[in-house]
Symmetry: D2
Subunit: 383 residues, 4 copies
Amino acid sequence: MSYTPSPADKFTFGLWTVGNLGRDPFGEPVRRPLTPVELVHLLAEVGAYGVNFHDNDLVPIDATPAEREQIVRDFKAALRETGLVVPMATTNLFSDPAFKDGAFTSNDPAVRAYALHKTMRAIDLGVECGATTYVFWGGREGVETDAAKDPVEASKRFREALNFLCAYVRDQGYDLRFALEPKPNEPRGDIYLATVGHALAFITTLDHPEMVGLNPEVAHEQMAGLNFLHGVAQAWEMGKLFHIDLNDQAPGRYDQDFRFGAVNPKSAFFLVKFLEDVGYQGSRHFDAHAYRTESYEGVKAFARGCMRTYLILKEKARQWNADPEIQALLAEINAGDQSPIAYSPATAAALKERSFDRHALGARNLAYERLDQLTVEVLLGVR
Amino acid sequence: MSYTPSPADKFTFGLWTVGNLGRDPFGEPVRRPLTPVELVHLLAEVGAYGVNFHDNDLVPIDATPAEREQIVRDFKAALRETGLVVPMATTNLFSDPAFKDGAFTSNDPAVRAYALHKTMRAIDLGVECGATTYVFWGGREGVETDAAKDPVEASKRFREALNFLCAYVRDQGYDLRFALEPKPNEPRGDIYLATVGHALAFITTLDHPEMVGLNPEVAHEQMAGLNFLHGVAQAWEMGKLFHIDLNDQAPGRYDQDFRFGAVNPKSAFFLVKFLEDVGYQGSRHFDAHAYRTESYEGVKAFARGCMRTYLILKEKARQWNADPEIQALLAEINAGDQSPIAYSPATAAALKERSFDRHALGARNLAYERLDQLTVEVLLGVR
Amino acid sequence: MSYTPSPADKFTFGLWTVGNLGRDPFGEPVRRPLTPVELVHLLAEVGAYGVNFHDNDLVPIDATPAEREQIVRDFKAALRETGLVVPMATTNLFSDPAFKDGAFTSNDPAVRAYALHKTMRAIDLGVECGATTYVFWGGREGVETDAAKDPVEASKRFREALNFLCAYVRDQGYDLRFALEPKPNEPRGDIYLATVGHALAFITTLDHPEMVGLNPEVAHEQMAGLNFLHGVAQAWEMGKLFHIDLNDQAPGRYDQDFRFGAVNPKSAFFLVKFLEDVGYQGSRHFDAHAYRTESYEGVKAFARGCMRTYLILKEKARQWNADPEIQALLAEINAGDQSPIAYSPATAAALKERSFDRHALGARNLAYERLDQLTVEVLLGVR
Amino acid sequence: MSYTPSPADKFTFGLWTVGNLGRDPFGEPVRRPLTPVELVHLLAEVGAYGVNFHDNDLVPIDATPAEREQIVRDFKAALRETGLVVPMATTNLFSDPAFKDGAFTSNDPAVRAYALHKTMRAIDLGVECGATTYVFWGGREGVETDAAKDPVEASKRFREALNFLCAYVRDQGYDLRFALEPKPNEPRGDIYLATVGHALAFITTLDHPEMVGLNPEVAHEQMAGLNFLHGVAQAWEMGKLFHIDLNDQAPGRYDQDFRFGAVNPKSAFFLVKFLEDVGYQGSRHFDAHAYRTESYEGVKAFARGCMRTYLILKEKARQWNADPEIQALLAEINAGDQSPIAYSPATAAALKERSFDRHALGARNLAYERLDQLTVEVLLGVR
């Protein structure tokens, strides 16, 4: 197996990922800035399919209209030259001090208005570059103290903003879907819509729920120690897996955004297996960055590693599905008539009177230790 | 202030809470079992309003029909004698080995059928005792390895079970609503519907979403380090706060079920303030238990402490709302025209062209440090 | 590679591990009890080298002297028959209600005396069965509230107990070393000597520090989200790695005691590599248990899986050490004169005046992304 | 009670705390930089006793000798003018890219030499300004992957550096003690000497352990979910509590450095009570910073809040110690002969034969629920 990425794999990176300068709360940048055009070429060199951006990754927040035009022109030329596409775009609503208390949920109505203004313009920019998915990560939509903001009021404000922007997109006739990206904390003490679940629930309260789905991120759920696969599966089953952010993260820590599979290859395996088994067709977006120890050679190694590990795990998923012993165990585990019990008064009455041998039910050996051990051995390449 | 509980406070306890024997994974029971009748009297003595139960807290799993009748008769007599009510009941779908791989999501269709059978009977029992809320905590609905169960399949099975049981309740004409109680892990490695958010989202996919709401528990969200208030507020805003389980818990640990307010009185304060401010009318159910160091004298001290701390915090919420300096800060924080921006193409166009002074927006002092310090001082009783 | 265990691998299990009945805080036992003799034969069947025990795993707490003698005789016969050895023993100071507030640190002096009494007898039993390492896991040495016990006083009490027991062992002329097993919480709200570090520091304050070392456990450090390897390395460097408990655990959760390598094979790899590289000669003790879904067939699969995964990772450590590209990277990373700078006034003065090009130091590419990716690929078996 | 700080309270702040600009991984500075002189005046205004600094908080890393002299002269003048003192200083070994792979534990010997060079100069600066405690926070001493650095080798390097610097301080005749500040992670994936325990153990391996103690920080232990009081008590009992960093932090998250008592006033209460009860004489150093929502007015509110909450909790500790019901419970809990059992062969033999009524020991009610509830009520100001 060559594990070489191809466009069909739909591997994408944000400009901010390979362009990350290695600044952190305790340290200064370790890498010089590259231009968007340079980053597109870097991504092309390592074999990526597409590139995503925040408005200000591409166009500085204080650029003039003329500068904006020139930047976009150069960027599109780089895309044409390399064949890269832009499947997704998003808004930076977190870096500027204006957003220090949130954007759509800020207590200041002028900030909320500015956030809408900035997002409409960023949507225009994304669509102009070809994006069909638009991500909302509400990194500043939260609090350090619940004395400062009413969570019900915040929820209403967030909803109003998304309803406004859905209406805008429809009015403009854009072919664009929204994808919410939840996160429990950092940079705020607590962020609203903390998990995939909270965001899925919130979507059902919008004016146009059909336009809005999820962009779950591995690190964001794992920060809270949650099983990422379960959240992704719920989003998938509800038809809401619009995009996905792949990276890695040790639970209960700061947002690490490590190379995909770098922390726990076993949970990464179950995730890749799921995406491939259900036939997920969207981007495999790596929202991660290289260690701060690396120069741009290391950044390329990082990017190649993300894609290569995905492809290795995809091949292992195929092996797992083809393994006769594993399949025999699965058949045994799922034996019996698995069809659901349809409700009728008669069925219910009969079931209520049916007698069960609970001791026999509890005595069954389920062979999950064996199944998991076989999974580990497929993962470690010794089967 | 006397901080003495009254029925209007709607303080309830489960039979399993004051009846907890102090058994844990590493230790044997430290308290002798009390009968349900004894527990009802204990709760009356400490001033509780109501008592909730799992089917097998009241009626042993292997009781004969005659034994069941006698137990229920005695229990109802104790209720009449003490004036306690039964606002909520639930099913034990986790203790028996039959449920070792789940109940509604078990891979074994016979276990799933047994779970429905057991739950219908438990619903009958709960309704017979007066319950109008029926809780579903899916403690065994999960996995230790994702090799063993397909999360999408599990979701379908869970839905089928709830749809079946909603139909059953409607057919029986019961005045009963369901309340799902999420939890991220323990006793399973990972439990499905991990948080308030996941459960809220799941409810929207049911046949009768109007019948099904939430029973969020402090400890379960805090185990995952999530802000419990935010989850409760989301449930409330969606009209889904049907019940609530109060206790306390250090984040990132085993399920501790400590006395309400025992770990972090500040987060307990914000929760009580919210419930009182929005006018939540349901039970304040303490799903907690006494330390293992206690005899039944300690159990009573524990139960009294839960209620007393709630009432103390309720009084502090009143003080906070009446504090002029706090209210002045809130007015300042929420200054400006807070009405939402209604979408129209013209409004959007104007907003897109409007010019913003982002530096001025970012320069505003928000005084949240002062506000939070005043909150701490109200909490500590020095204002 | 066959990955078949041999005595030279020094794989041991506790009677309580393969004998675990699958009881948990929410569920009843799922497996029938086996006798110690049956467990010895089970361990022999799967290929273990040794078996460890708590006093009451072997001899019930209420056994008569005659019963004790018979049990020990039968157990020793089983050891002779199977060839298994007993490298380690320990005391159960946590199951009985007497220890509900601790054993050596209990506020009750009678409990502290009983704990010494019980431990002396358990030491005799362990030595009689051949143990040369004696473990102290202070599972109840802690608090739910710091109002209840003074941590300095608790520390003194713990020290006095260990000093007493060291003196006892020396007086008896036993060939026995002590190994402390730290844990941050569960079953107590907080346990004293929370981590490997706290225990290492504490040992230096004992009368006979040379007799006392560590028994670090994977799950106990990972519960607190700590890097287990780093703790093990510190214990090793201080000459204190007397024993080790291998299992697996997701961070920030209840004590899971999963099969070795089941949660995160990458961190298990670095651990095995360390133990093999430094030449650790002690037991590889698996302090884990099978999922609750398993019968004793599953228990055997669990035990075999622990050992097999260790051996697979040991072989991968060998591959890693032999991989030319990895070794070339390591050589590059560790280039330059690595000898320490010995202090002298002149050296210090010169160094203080020396001029450094900090920009050049910061510009170096360290290739850790590449090195970690190669490690992942060795782990996944694709190199 | 006025809760007004006085010099006797020994409240100190770092230049970096009130001087924090509100930059974070996702956002730009929200406050303009103040000069050290301005910060000294700000601290004097709010009532602080002292000010601490990293070398580069005071003197920029690229300052000329002449600039250094002028800066120090101005700073000392501000100290004289305000009466503030400098009890502690430290080195910035984490911001510059040179330290991206560590300082004392870097794989690059030139970086290690530079770290010694920089620290000797920073020690000179600290001593010149009056510091008698010198802190070592090894923020970059760690790894993102254990493939990159050998933890035993790292430990040796760390030890060599500290031994070198102890020798330097002795040679210079400085009146200076070292205080290690542990942290488990952030900004590195894992940091060596992760907790108070690991650092205490490490100190015992140094050439001059008597010169080296601890600077534990609330947030750093709580990030790992550890009980901070227990670590502080262990350091105190070992004579190693040389300094302390006060702030607050929700467990299992990024390093928050919130205002003291802002997250959990109950754990802050136990900490203050301990420091006051044992007679800790060192600085109460607040290593925290204002929310990013604040201007310098908010920074002052933050600093005042830290000190005021400490004084409120100190008064509550006094109340707790004077509360008759609490003291009666403590007397009951600690009843019996609490003197230790001195070892002698005869005592051991007698104790081994003594008979215990373990059922009676287990049956005792310990009244910890009542005690903790009384503690909560003292804390909330309702007793």
